[in-house]
Symmetry: C2
Subunit: 224 residues, 2 copies
Amino acid sequence: MKIEQDLLAKNDAYAADNRLTFNMAGVLALNLVSSPGSGKTTLLVETIKRLQSDLPVAVIEGDQQTSMDAERIRATGAPALQINTGKGCHLDAHMTGHAFEQLRPAFGSVLFIENVGNLVCPAMFDLGEEHRTVLISVTEGEDKPLKYPDMIRSSHLLLITKIDLLPHLDFDVEALATNARKINSGIKILKVSAKTGEGMNAWLGFIRAARSLALTGLESRVTV
Amino acid sequence: MKIEQDLLAKNDAYAADNRLTFNMAGVLALNLVSSPGSGKTTLLVETIKRLQSDLPVAVIEGDQQTSMDAERIRATGAPALQINTGKGCHLDAHMTGHAFEQLRPAFGSVLFIENVGNLVCPAMFDLGEEHRTVLISVTEGEDKPLKYPDMIRSSHLLLITKIDLLPHLDFDVEALATNARKINSGIKILKVSAKTGEGMNAWLGFIRAARSLALTGLESRVTV
């Protein structure tokens, strides 16, 4: 217990450093969390394709093993760096900070951090991101928010993914949304399909507005 | 101590309700906090003048006594409701919720909540706002963030006000910013003068970007 507290305190200190660094670099960092198989990488690939013509994008990929996800991202042309966490079931702020140093995203970039597929461990570890984004696909259960309240509570946005499959499923989107709001009244909820493109404009709108907000103040930097 | 905890827990529950209500109403709520005399009302008047041609705006005014601030706001044409807290040194979420019900701002409004002038009490009371905005004027001290860490820690934006007075003062803006970032690494910092208009565009840019972000998801509401 004591060790866990020390670990989290240390992580929080690194996360605060990252936040300051991201802030100063005009970088909007989004931490994407979900169960394995919710479609994070596919969504990222489709998102990057639509953003990169007018916005610089960079990606940090977290996986326990393999660098397949980073390769999928790099195929879009966006810089991506893979972190293998080995036995670790989540990214932490320290490794994220080092990855950022190596990536050195351009000023004004959107930095996607794809966390290890896991709805428990990543909840405790602030990476210094501006917005934590949790994905739940319509092939999962409507009760997920109640089962993983820490993840929902710590997230700003819930993306309900794979909505193209809804006609073939007995899934109640409204029940999922209600459960999510029971845990986190302020959470924003968007429905997307990376396959058909439905809902992508709202998700891109979120990213663009969040980036504008992240850049606020940098044009009129306090430092001269 | 027990009583205080109960009070805060109750407030947090009301704040969660407010947040959900604001969210559903497409309302961006900003909670403005500061010492007395930092220029909150003057800034609000100048802000509303510049916003209200294309954005609906509403204001909740908190003061221990008098309704002079609400009258100054109403002179701009924006709807304003005054809450007198009597002996209370801060607004709470319950009174804010009732004020919101009475005001009923239009969909997509920016709701400014001008808190009671006090850098201590309002820090503990979440009103359900999206962004807490703390004002420190250049006629105050650079060490304010270190003296009032709770307020800085809980704020998203620091507005350094009355910068038109800088040439006449021995005030180190950079030292203030550094102190604020020591407490809250992610805090955004803007410098403004409501008098000359300097920095107003960046502040308006923050509000517009934050409102766009608040509206995200509402166009593609989960409910059909």
